[in-house]
């Protein structure tokens, strides 16, 4: 159901004002800097360190269980990482100024205008994730590196090149935002075509040009729109709308890009791998994942890469090929291969939700204790520092995970059936592949 949220004058006024966004962003930037500080200078015990607990339990749970499924790129709208660089780039925190920055703003290299670098940066984090997720200093280094990389790139390249092409988090948020029931679009595309100055892209005295390098008049999918709302502020014709829509609306016109297809494989593969490594009972596997640089880690990394980059895409390609054979479709494999990966979007989202619920529910009590004693220095700011660890009631967890996975699978089958019909090829083998992957995930979870 489509409800135009910006139809309400109060909502439009609220969203046009930069203050609410800036307030949230500033608070988050404070939290982000505290996470870096506590990770660097606080206790090395991960379960007592604000950096670890707030980034990998509190933020991650909110992101993957609520923000991405419901708002898509809602997090990107308030993400503190690109903020300092963007303020420097614009030489303004709120409204645009006349002052121009004294450094060049190159365009991002044409060859890199895709999400392959985001796939690589995500994979790099994934390979070291056992260390990053559990070692406060490693988390601090990664967070600080992202902050400085975003800052540095914003001084060299135009707009939010870091977010658009490099950020490992932005890549998967963009992918999964296609499933979200919220979108920013233009009301009437004809108005955009006749608009000469295109202030939504180029900026005006009312606001900045799109930081995500997107012309809103051509928006068809959520992938690259960061919901920063600048276009809402600059459009002289109030032609930009924020509206609800059915879940998965973008999946009706799946992307045919190989970089996005591989993002879907990487995300599904990483969810399965993490579930086995982190939630399984195999201590040797955990040690191998943790001892970065060792021979065991080399084997783990090779297996992880082979699983996510070769095994899953390989079996998927076989399934797509089998579907074409069944339908006696002689078209090339590539378009069908990329289009069918749309089905991995709801499935991947379900995998990540089911995986995250397990460790978030088990470790949620750490959030309260870390809040009272963020550095693990014996503080007790809110009287909750001494709270004993206790998992949330886990009795309903398996049923909840089964429901999420079955729901994700049905949604993904529905998605590939539509794709199969459009391409005149059978979706049955891909459905069987997805059901098999879901069974594997269930086997690891239950």
């Amino acid at each position: 159901m489509q409800i135009e949220l910006t139809r309400s004058p109060a909502v439009r006024r609220l969203l046009k004002s930069r203050w609410p966004q800036l307030t949230i962003l500033t608070l988050l930037l404070g939290g982000f800097l505290l996470a870096i500080a506590s990770g660097w200078a606080g206790t090395p015990v991960g379960s007592a360190n604000f950096g670890i607990i707030f980034v990998w339990i509190a933020w991650w749970a909110l992101l993957i269980l609520l923000v991405v499924p419901l708002t898509g790129r809602g997090w990107c709208a308030i993400c503190p990482i690109p903020a300092p660089g963007e303020w420097l780039q614009r030489r303004a925190v709120l409204e645009p100024t006349e002052r121009k920055p004294g450094w060049p703003h190159y365009r991002w290299p044409k060859r890199l205008r895709n999400i392959w670098l985001q796939n690589l940066s995500f994979m790099l984090l994934a390979l070291f994730s056992a260390v990053i997720l559990t070692t406060p200093r490693a988390t601090a280094i990664v967070l600080a590196a992202m902050l400085f990389l975003a800052l540095g790139l914003s001084l060299i390249f135009e707009r939010r090149s870091f977010c658009r092409y490099l950020c490992p988090v932005s890549g998967f948020i963009g992918l999964y935002s296609q499933a979200a029931p919220l979108e920013l679009r233009v009301r009437d595309k004809r108005l955009c075509r006749s608009c000469e100055d295109k202030p939504c892209y180029n900026g005006s005295e009312k606001g900045h040009g799109c930081p995500w390098q997107v012309f809103p008049g051509g928006l068809a999918r959520n992938t690259s729109c960061g919901l920063c709302l600048e276009c809402l502020r600059t459009c002289p014709k109030d032609n930009i709308v924020l509206q609800t829509r059915p879940f998965g609306a973008d999946l009706r016109q799946p992307s045919r890009k190989m970089d996005e297809a591989f993002k879907a494989f990487l995300m599904v593969g990483a969810a399965v791998a993490y579930t086995g490594i982190l939630l399984g009972p195999w201590g040797g596997l955990k040690q191998a994942a943790y001892r970065a640089g060792s021979l065991a880690w080399g084997g783990y990394a090779a297996a992880f890469l082979a699983f996510t980059w070769l095994l899953i895409p390989g079996f998927f390609a076989l399934a797509v090929g089998a579907g074409q054979r069944i339908a006696r479709n002689t078209q090339p494999l590539r378009p069908a291969f990329t289009a069918f990966t749309a089905g991995l979007i709801p499935l991947g989202l379900a995998f990540w939700a089911a995986f995250s619920l397990s460790f978030v529910m088990a470790n949620a009590t750490y959030v309260l204790s870390a809040l009272s004693d963020p550095f693990g220095w014996g503080w007790n700011l809110f009287g909750t520092a001494g709270l004993a660890w206790k998992p949330l009631p886990m009795g309903l967890l398996p049923s909840l995970q089964v429901l999420i996975l079955v729901g994700g699978l049905l949604w993904s089958i529905r998605t590939i059936q539509r794709t199969g019909a459009e391409l005149k090829t059978s979706s049955l083998p891909v459905a069987v592949f997805q059901a098999g992957l879901t069974c594997l995930m269930l086997g690891l979870l239950l």
């Binding site: 379960s47 079955v406 089958i413 059936q417 019909a421 459009e422």
Partner: protein, 154 residues
């Protein structure tokens, strides 16, 4: 969707629901007393999976081989702490069937939150039911939406 197809889908859904509530063989072994030695070390338990039958009285002798480790069983709520070199004993009646995660509840190093084991009481019927449900759901989805129907929709 044609009437015939609707009937088949309905039948598959009924079968799926039936599968969820059909009693599965739970293993007819008589309850016994079991003593199992468990070694805890960073960041695993050995054996990683403890298999018992429903109704067994289980005594776990937990020995830590490096630092202090905890031993907490989800849903059962029972726990013990194992100091290095000393044997901690934990006795309980395995009266609830299913698979339960064992967690270390004493911070023991970087991977502490992920130091997990499994207690399996009886066969893993939850997994068998879930996989059956996946099979029925896939079948229902495939039958419910034939390609021709989607072409017309889109």
């Amino acid at each position: 969707m044609s009437r015939k197809r609707r009937v088949i889908v309905f039948a598959v859904i009924l079968l799926g629901l039936g599968w969820l509530f059909t009693p599965l063989p739970a293993g007819a072994a008589r309850p016994v007393q079991r003593t199992i030695r468990v070694e805890a070390s960073q960041f695993a338990y050995q054996p990683a999976v403890i298999q018992v039958n429903q109704g067994d009285t289980v005594t776990l002798e937990i020995v830590s081989t490096d630092v202090v480790h905890g031993f907490y069983v989800d849903e059962y709520g029972v726990s013990a702490t194992a100091d290095p070199g000393q044997t901690a004993r934990l006795t309980f009646v395995a009266d609830r069937g299913g698979t339960f995660r064992i967690r270390c509840n004493q911070p023991c190093g970087p991977l502490h939150p992920f130091m997990l084991g499994e207690l399996r009481v009886g066969p893993n019927t939850g997994l068998v039911r879930a996989i059956g449900l996946i099979a029925f759901a896939t079948l229902a989805a495939v039958i419910a939406t034939p390609p021709a129907l989607i072409s017309r929709e889109s």
